[in-house]
């Protein structure tokens, strides 16, 4: 058990291509951190640099306080679960799980004992003599987890472990992961592009974009207080609505007509981007004129997409009994308490939003 | 069969073409597979080596192209279809023999003098007596005449050039030509003292090794096969002579007069290289290397190199192995045989020797051409009197193979001469039975 710290980690490739740009991150002992971001944002690279499979260009990586930069992957005492599981095809399930222990010189009998115990936890005892080719996707995933768990490493690293599973299996594996997390709390860095996984499993979420960390925080904080436009748009589905607006003395004015009240101090006349989540907008007798474009009933609610007079699309999450028809002209009102204000130039959230 | 059919076709074509004026000179007479006009009614097929008409040497090729052009212009109703033999002589000649036996051989072909006996005994050669006079045949060197005629006196091939092995020496190191084995050994050791390698000769696994060594066996009067062609080299007196000649080689290597590397020499070119590098003062090589050295060495170095007859056990007992190429007819068609004979006469015998500096096979021709005026030709012509062709018997290649093995084993110390000779004889006798 140990904490993990990255300090100003840079990773550049041959032709000046920057994969990681001064990434700094502290993961507490037994904390479960999920790194999320679009593909190519550097989240997998971060993981591989921590594991030692890829070498950082500069910066420090500490595990349990000790700098591990110069240690080979095997000496860092981390375990990793790969997206394609990377099971050794020519070894049995037991061989796969026990490989790391054997390489570390543990006696055969003791390895057997440890493997058996892990297999029981993962409920794969009857698969121990099979080879990976004879397993289903979910079973392989469990074996890969077993291979990581059996070593009781200081740090667990997961590289999109659920992305090769079908949707139904993914949901059940997600809750399984949570159960294992409870059962064996270990410092964990979990990489995914799926924000649902991030929101449901993480103690803290790290949002990455273009090799940089955009925001770090508990899931709901990230959701409620996105630090910038990127996080605001990336987290949440449907995405946050964003409209160009101008600050007034009492709020913000959208397209010179609709006014939204905002509290707090402000620079009057300043151009901003006003953001509000779909659940903060609803039709009303007055307000911003808009036309209904599409309706998506998904059972417990309806996702409605409006189009403003200026042509901007606005999504809204409405109760299932809402009576609207496509093409209908309505007025929209925004819950000003839930509005966010961003600087259009830097994308950073402005204080006045809260 | 095929060319007879072609000939009929050609005749039809010629009949149709009557009245159309054609200029021979205006067309390409010589191509990669033909000499003459493509529509000439008569065809002779000819298998030749790639050293004359198709030589990579421009001067040689041009000279032969002129000869062939002249020859075919005088016979406008003929064309020669040429087939180039590959460099792998043993395999090539074996294939030619097989084709000839199956009746698929060319009308006319170059045959290595050492393989001629095989073709004679396979009865695939057409006599060419009509095209040479008795006097011309009698003028051939004895070993040549014996090889190209059969018991009935039929002339089955024309041996158009020969070659022989001689001793080359750098007169700056070895002023006087060694005449005997003893003198050769002493002279070699003297060159070793002068920082050279000693005497070089072929000792690896190839025909040249046997051929060069046979001079020492023949010089004592040794015989490889008896009159019926049975291998007798390990019997009676021959055995003693064989061992004496082998021990001579062994002594050269054991005493340091020759370097152990001779068992890896499988190429006459190695001697040219050593001469050019100035690392040797003596080697046993072919007469054709004289011209090669002239082209390779600086003038003052070349002037120091001289040739002499291969030393024998005594001054009077000498021999040298002779080779060269013959041309023979294999066709049933008298006209094709005639063209083949005329081609030998007008292009190869004499003319060709002069162009390429190849040794003619009769004394008269040395007088006829200025090309043979150099002092070295006196040595060659004299040595040819002691010339000895390899026995023209089917078992010869296998005898040669076993002598190569024997020389390698003895010189590398893998076997004693007696053991090696017994092994060679056993192998040859077994092969002879199967033949």
């Amino acid at each position: 058990m140990a904490d993990l710290a990255l300090t100003d980690v840079m990773k550049t490739y041959g032709r000046g291509q920057v994969a990681l740009d001064r990434v700094s991150l502290d993961v507490q002992d037994r904390e479960f951190v999920v790194i999320v971001g679009p593909s190519g944002c550097g989240k997998s690279t971060t993981l591989r640099v921590i594991a030692g499979i890829e070498e950082e260009t500069s910066g420090d990586i500490r595990i349990g306080g000790a700098v591990v930069n110069d240690l080979c992957p095997g000496a860092r005492d981390v375990a990793m679960v790969f997206q394609d599981y990377a099971l050794y095809p020519h070894m049995t399930v037991a061989g796969n799980i026990g490989f790391g222990l054997r390489r570390r010189g543990m006696a055969r009998a003791k390895v057997h004992e440890r493997v058996k115990r892990v297999a029981e936890v993962l409920e794969i005892t009857d698969l121990l003599d099979r080879r990976p080719a004879m397993l289903s996707g979910g079973q392989r995933q469990r074996v890969a987890m077993g291979r990581a768990m059996v070593r009781r490493p200081k740090v667990f690293l997961f590289d999109e472990p659920l992305s090769n599973l079908d949707a139904r299996l993914r949901v059940s594996m997600r809750s399984e992961m949570r159960r294992l997390k409870e059962h064996m709390p270990t410092t964990t860095v979990y990489v995914t592009h799926d924000q649902t996984e991030a929101m449901t499993m993480a103690d803290r979420v790290v949002v990455m974009n273009s090799g940089r960390i955009e925001q770090v925080g508990p899931p709901m904080e990230i959701y409620r207080h996105p630090a910038n436009l990127f996080v605001a748009q990336f987290i949440g589905s449907p995405a946050m609505n964003l409209l160009d607006a101008t600050l007034t003395e009492t709020g913000a004015e959208i397209a010179g007509k609709t006014h939204i009240a905002l509290s707090g101090a402000r620079d009057v006349g300043r151009q901003i981007v006003l953001g509000f989540r779909p659940e903060a907008v609803r039709p009303a007798d007055s307000g911003m004129p808009a036309r209904v474009r599409t309706l998506e009933p998904i059972g417990q609610e309806i996702i409605v997409e409006f189009e403003s007079a200026a042509g901007t699309r606005i999504s809204s999450r409405l109760p299932p009994d809402t009576q609207l028809k496509a093409g209908e002209n309505v007025h929209l009102t925004v819950d000003s308490a839930c509005a966010h204000v961003f600087d259009p130039r830097t994308g950073a959230a402005l204080d006045s939003s809260a | 069969m095929t060319h007879r059919f072609l000939r009929i076709l050609g005749a039809v074509g010629a009949a149709c073409a009557v009245g159309i004026p054609s200029s021979l000179a205006a067309q390409d007479l010589i191509t990669r597979d033909r000499v003459g006009l493509p529509d000439a009614p008569n065809t002779m097929t000819f298998r030749l080596t790639a050293y004359d008409l198709y030589s990579s040497d421009d001067a040689t090729r041009t000279a032969f192209e002129e000869l062939f052009a002249e020859f075919i212009e005088a016979r406008p109703d003929w064309k020669i279809e040429t087939q180039i033999a590959t460099d792998n002589i043993g395999q090539e000649q074996a294939r030619l023999l097989e084709q000839a036996r199956a009746g698929r051989g060319p009308d006319c072909a170059m045959i290595d003098s050492s393989q001629l006996a095989l073709f004679k005994s396979a009865d695939v050669l057409t006599p060419m007596n009509a095209h040479w006079s008795e006097a011309e045949i009698d003028d051939l060197f004895p070993f040549v005449r014996e090889a190209v005629t059969n018991e009935d006196g039929d002339l089955l091939a024309w041996w158009w050039f020969t070659d022989l092995r001689v001793l080359y020496r750098d007169t700056r190191l070895v002023p006087d030509a060694p005449q005997t084995w003893e003198e050769l050994q002493a002279a070699s050791l003297a060159t070793v003292d002068a920082g050279k390698e000693g005497v070089l000769f072929n000792g690896g696994r190839w025909e040249g090794t046997t051929f060069d060594w046979l001079a020492h066996f023949w010089a004592q009067g040794g015989q490889l096969v008896d009159d019926e062609g049975r291998p007798v080299f390990a019997e009676g007196e021959n055995r003693e002579k064989f061992l004496t000649a082998i021990n001579f080689y062994k002594d050269l290597v054991d005493s340091g007069a020759a370097p152990p590397r001779v068992t890896s020499i499988v190429n006459y070119d190695d001697f040219n290289a050593a001469a050019a590098a100035g690392t040797t003062g003596l080697f046993i090589g072919g007469n054709w290397q004289y011209g090669q050295l002239r082209g390779t060495l600086p003038v003052e170095d070349f002037a120091a190199w001289e040739v002499s007859a291969i030393p024998g056990p005594s001054v009077d007992a000498r021999a040298t192995g002779t080779g060269g190429w013959t041309i023979a007819a294999m066709s049933d068609d008298e006209d094709a045989v005639r063209i083949c004979a005329e081609m030998i006469r007008e292009i190869y015998s004499g003319q060709s020797n002069a162009i390429q500096g190849l040794l003619p096979t009769s004394a008269a021709q040395y007088e006829r051409f200025d090309a043979f005026d150099g002092p070295e030709y006196d040595v060659f012509a004299q040595a040819l009197v002691d010339g000895q062709a390899r026995p023209g018997v089917p078992i010869y290649p296998e005898i040669s193979n076993n002598i190569q093995i024997l020389i390698g084993d003895v010189l590398s110390g893998a076997a004693t001469p007696e053991e090696a000779l017994d092994a060679a004889n056993a192998a040859v006798q077994a092969a002879y039975e199967r033949l």
Binding site: G14, I53, C72, G74, A75, V78, M80, F82, Q83, D84, A86, Y88, P89, H90, F99, G100, R103, R131, M134, S136, G137, G138, R151, N164, D166 | G90, Q91, A94, L97, E98, S121, A122, G203, G204, R205, P260, R261, V262, S264, V266, D270, A277, P394, P397, E398, N401, Q404, I405, L406, G408, D409, L411, S412, A414, A415, A423, A427, A431, R434, L435
Partner: protein
């Protein structure tokens, strides 16, 4: 790659028809005819000749076991077989080891973006396209024991005494094997290179994290994962080496003595020096039998794992 959650083993293999439907024959006939004409007929002819008494000078006059018996009892044969065993073993081990070394070096170099990897690959491949005879001649120049010989004069620069590369019987065997390895490496390299390229990098990452060092990764990942490629390369390289005689013919001619006369060269000599077509055919049959036997042995040793993931 998507995976269903159904265990692969539980799925039933699609049932194959028990016999080929008659409609298949017209489609197979051209291939069978070609194979028959170009492979079967020559093989049958060799069989016929082996039991006959044909020479290059005459065709078979009588049939029997005499020829085979005489060929097998040839006093030279045991030595030739031993030379063949040594040459083949040295060549196969040498070719596989250097082929593996070059392939892994190239793959590793490419991964690290090192310059010159495709050049290295090309150089090795060049050796492959050099004809055997030319290869023999090249090495003959290198091994030349003349005072100006390439290797020996290089050694002399470092004060090392000249080596009798070709004139010493046991050295000659080593030299012949080196020449053959130099040429044969390319083939093994291509096979191993392709196989290694096909392996998942994550496997190596997983093994590294599991604490496997470079040698353990080679032992536990590379070797087992490349088992099929190694089997294929071993079989083909062995057969190719057994059939090799052009390199040796040009390099040593089989000498000194019979020190480098392998079975294929002995066969060649039997036919083209001895003109013994039947004896040569009998030897060719022995060659075929040895190749078949070795192939079965290799498959037993290397190919008995039924369930590979590939």
């Amino acid at each position: 790659m998507t995976m269903s959650d159904t265990p692969v083993a539980a799925q039933k293999a699609p049932r194959r028809p028990k016999r080929a439907r008659p409609a298949a024959w017209p489609w197979l006939a051209p291939a069978l005819l070609m194979l028959g004409a170009f492979y079967l007929v020559p093989i049958l002819d060799v069989l016929r000749l082996a039991f006959g008494d044909a020479t290059l000078l005459r065709s078979v006059e009588s049939y029997g076991l005499e020829g085979i018996q005489q060929t097998l009892s040839s006093p030279a044969l045991p030595g030739v077989l031993w030379v063949t065993v040594v040459f083949t073993a040295a060549s196969v081990i040498g070719i596989l080891a250097t082929g593996m070394l070059v392939a892994l070096t190239v793959v590793r170099g490419e991964m690290r973006g090192l310059w010159g990897m495709s050049a290295l690959r090309t150089v090795v491949l060049t050796a492959w396209v050099v004809p055997g005879i030319a290869n023999g001649l090249i090495w003959q120049m290198l091994f030349s024991e003349a005072p100006f010989g390439a290797l020996n004069s290089t050694l002399a620069v470092f004060g090392i005494a000249p080596v009798r590369w070709l004139s010493d019987p046991s050295n000659a065997m080593v030299s012949a094997a080196i020449a053959n390895v130099w040429q044969g490496t390319a083939f093994a390299m291509i096979v191993f290179y392709a196989a290694r390229k096909g392996l998942s990098q994550d496997l190596y990452a997983a093994a590294a994290i599991d604490g496997a060092g470079p040698f353990a990764r080679f032992l536990f990942i590379t070797l087992p994962q490349m088992r099929a490629a190694i089997l294929v390369a071993t079989v083909l390289v062995t057969i190719q080496t057994l059939n090799t005689f052009d390199v040796i013919l040009a390099l040593t001619g089989g000498g000194p003595g019979r020190a480098t006369e392998v079975l294929s060269l002995f066969t060649f000599n039997t036919v083209f020096y001895n003109f013994d077509l039947s004896g040569g055919s009998a030897l060719a049959l022995i060659l075929v039998l040895i190749a078949l036997l070795l192939t079965v042995v290799y498959i037993r040793l290397l190919g008995d794992r039924p369930d590979q993931d590939k």
